[in-house]
Subunit: 412 residues, 2 copies
């Protein structure tokens, strides 16, 4: 049971208010979460996170995705440390760069080559730049409401951007072939690329896996127009299919963006591409001071090796299903209607008839007090470091939380 007050967290927030605008920034800002969520953490191990006041949580956010084999995974840490002892960010790359590109080309079905960056946004942006360089066209089709990063061209909160930053975006609705066709027709002859997320994982919405018909329609549109099919696999990459998330629907992209889980928390992003876009990729200039850091690449090599060796995806899916089944039973017992959507290893949990997320916020903050860090609106993540005991401990917390929802809102 977590204490209601978090005095050290509160003290840190006071200090942060002075030196950080608004006290915190970006997606890790807990301002949109219910009161009671800790802002600052002291340490982590496996799937457990400790806040600065010493409370432990089973972590179902996994750092919003990067943690996939457990915080402090021994094998990954040793691989990165061994490389770091030789060198990390140098005046040129190391052999790890070539090895990692070879590894991705071997693993990712569509990939003939790879490039490396530091942010998921770097990778999605580079895909768009390569698509334009290859086609000489300008328009980029993106799904309405999808998140592809926080650069001015794609940020969901355009404060401080200009209209021109997004002037060449054209919107379609995910899984809606007619809207895709209409979007394409509206800019016929000027389409550089179509960006699609691995699946629909918009904030606060039920998740949707891609339908085979939709994925095939995107592929067909790109084949006919010469545009690049850009798969945004930043969030889902290596949690659905090691060959690329659209292997699940039998469609290969031209370009794909990876980050988050690729190196178990080490800072890295990647673009993979097919031969058709190789020359364009060689013709563009995007770079960064740290983009060839060898320690993150060594961490990625070990992470990918473990994914293959341990069938990590099946393990995460099974753990997610255990959580999903347990929650479904609890909802049933407490007379609640839950909407559990998306892959079991990347679950979103919403309550039916909860437009203000009042049930969801009460549920998650009560689960938090019981020691389970769940998000009321964002998709969550499983890791291979979660144990059945972790899931069951979390389910104890959610049982109490579900009872609290019933007590406040009654049966559905």
């Amino acid at each position: 049971m977590i204490s209601n007050s978090l005095p050290l967290d509160a003290a840190l927030r006071t200090r942060a208010q002075r030196v950080i605008p608004g006290g915190m920034y970006g997606h890790l800002n807990v301002a949109r979460l219910p009161p009671g969520y800790p802002q600052f953490f002291a340490r982590a191990e496996g799937a457990t996170l400790w806040d600065v006041d010493g409370n432990a949580y089973v972590d179902f956010m996994c750092a919003y995705g990067p943690m996939v084999l457990g915080y402090g995974n021994r094998e990954v840490e040793e691989a990165a440390a061994a490389q770091r002892a030789l060198g990390d960010v140098l005046t040129g790359p190391s052999e790890r760069l070539v090895e990692l590109a070879e590894k991705l080309v071997g693993l990712v079905s569509h990939a003939d080559w790879a490039l490396f960056q530091r942010n998921g946004t770097d990778a999605t942006t580079l895909c768009v730049v390569i698509a334009r360089a290859s086609t000489g066209k300008r328009k980029i089709l993106v799904a309405r409401g999808a998140y592809h990063g926080s650069a001015p061209w794609c940020t969901p909160h355009p404060t401080g951007t200009t209209a021109e930053d997004r002037i060449h975006l054209v919107h379609y609705d995910y899984n809606d072939v007619a809207s895709l066709v209409a979007a394409a027709q509206s800019v016929e002859g000027d389409i550089a690329g179509v960006v699609a997320s691995a699946f629909k994982h918009d904030y606060g919405k039920d998740q949707e896996l891609p339908t085979p018909a939709f994925a095939a329609a995107v592929r067909r549109l790109c084949d006919e127009s010469g545009a690049a099919l850009i798969l945004d696999d930043v969030r889902a990459g290596f949690r659905l299919h090691l060959g690329g998330s659209w292997e699940t629907v039998g469609v290969r992209p031209d370009l794909a963006a990876y980050s988050k889980a690729i190196a178990n928390g080490y800072t890295l992003a990647a673009v993979t591409g097919s031969d058709k876009f190789r020359d364009a990729a060689a013709s563009v200039f995007m770079t960064g001071s740290f983009w060839c850091g060898a320690a993150s690449m060594a961490a990625a090599l070990k992470t990918l090796e473990i994914f293959e060796r341990d069938d990590s995806i099946s393990r995460m899916a099974a753990l997610g299903q255990r959580l999903r089944d347990g929650l479904a039973a609890q909802a049933e017992a407490h007379g609640q209607v839950l909407k559990q959507t998306g892959p079991a290893q990347m679950p979103t949990i919403l309550f039916a008839d909860d437009p203000q997320v009042e049930k969801g916020r009460l549920f998650t903050v009560e689960a938090l007090r019981g020691g389970a860090w769940l998000h009321p609106q964002h998709n969550m993540f499983l890791s291979t470091a979660h144990t059945e005991a972790d899931i069951d401990r979390a389910l104890q917390a959610t049982d109490g939380a579900m009872a609290a929802v019933r007590k406040s809102f009654g049966r559905d």
Copy 2:
């Protein structure tokens, strides 16, 4: 003496050609350097870099800036490792975030707050976004030829970008007050910000420190128009003045972008700002999966502590001056006219009357063979890990290189 052939490097290049477009990307691509430069490195320690064929070089690029206290600096490595053992990229930030923001606010003269990113380009882009959010204006004044990153709005190689990416940029010439005033007048009433590098360090050009008159004119323009004075201190930050590079000319920016040297090679960038821009900074959304990684922040805290404790800037300037004086004497002895520009700790070395950089390329490749990694056109960097013996060893190499230039091109 370095061998003429680099068989292991050549073998890696062959492998890289298959899986990386063009064989390499970005600023670490040696394609623009003379043949003979190794592309791949095996390890580094202090100021010494070893290529994959086992040749050692005194490194005057310092990873293009990030290395400032030596590769593998023990104190920085220990601080980062200790934090990593607790946690790095988590579901929220650690106390290191607050400590580092407090540290920058204490150290950087104009700073009332700080935000953290992963690339220098993230930092310059965020400054522009904050400037626009604060002013409600669109235009950004930038110096012609200056490098502010590789995102579509600022990349020097616009392949794959659109005209609209750069439509709100207006150019002036660095250190030219009249051109600055003219640029401002051309978009009067719509100026969001003026970006200025710490000093003029354009590729292949003589470097220029900012004149006090120019810096004062930028400040005056921003004060009169309400625009943000954005100092791009990504490359020079913490190598000229710990309070910010324009402390040297007595002008304080509103926003400043840092990266490279801030954490001795750990991946980190920062924006610092004044109170006037605090609300705007809180209103924008830019984020990344790894932006709150605590290990890089622990590395930065230790790096900044060492800068203060050891007067690192004076040390680097003295080492740079030793190199500069030695090169000047060699040039004189060999009848060559060298243009040595910029701060001694960030030197650019060009030959007079060398428009095709023939002398410069011969000089640097001969120095390379003697064991000194110099760049023929880019500014270079000193670190505190360079020793007098390193400089003198490099000067032995450059003496032979200067003789080679005289032999091929005669006395100037």
